[in-house]
Amino acid sequence: MARSVWKGPFVDGYLLNKAEASRASGRNEVIKIWSRRSTILPQFVGLVFGVYNGHKFLPVQVNENMVGHKFGEFSPTRTFTGHSSDKKARRG
């Protein structure tokens, strides 16, 4: 069942403070978090989080399309690397 709209999105409060601190510093940094349950807010766009998947911190570059999703969605706990073949990676 979907979360009630009147409650608003859930996000661990301390993430907001750290995200603002990171943005203010302007440094090249990864914010390592365990909070997979937190919703991605517009304030996080442009930052890079390292989201724990039980094994390591996978880098998550937040963009506009990810707002409203949870951090955990981008850090799978079971992985299949697949084959590289002709696949390409775009540098962000």
């Binding site: 090249n28 890079v48 996978l58 570059q61 990810m66 002709d86 990676a89």
Partner: protein, 177 residues
Amino acid sequence: MDAQRILMGVVGRPHGVRGLVRVHSYAAVPADLASYGALSDDRGQSWTLSWRGEGIAALTDASGRTIADRDEAAKLVNRKLFVTRDRLPEPDEDEFYLADLVGMRAVERTEAGERSLGKVLAVHDYGAGPSLELEGGALVPFTRACVPDISVAENRLVVAMPDEMEVRDERNGDDPS
């Protein structure tokens, strides 16, 4: 990894009695496998592939003879199909083939010169931008800030390791470990 040959697919089980086979394409767009022309297999034979249905193809050997018999097709099961790197189209600016990135030497610039970080083991992308896994387990976001310089010709890339900031709830802690 052989940089000149890139694994593009594998021949699967026969389909029907007229020599058609299932082909598991690893290409980003599976149907593109046929557009690369002749594919070489792991035994050195050359094959041209033409799709007959979704995931079903006819294979023609170098002499122009198409496999037309199920028994013959069954002998090709698990053959790996390769394409040479130079047949892939040039990527756009700031785009890189994973096949080029994997195996590259990663170095970090320091005041004393350059420090080796090992090779790139894998490129991960789970919908939140690609990241490079280096020898030793480090994960680096594939961004201009973290990977400012890439030289495919020299098989080397420069990594600027990002600072790390740990964030956890001081009240009850959300680190399960």
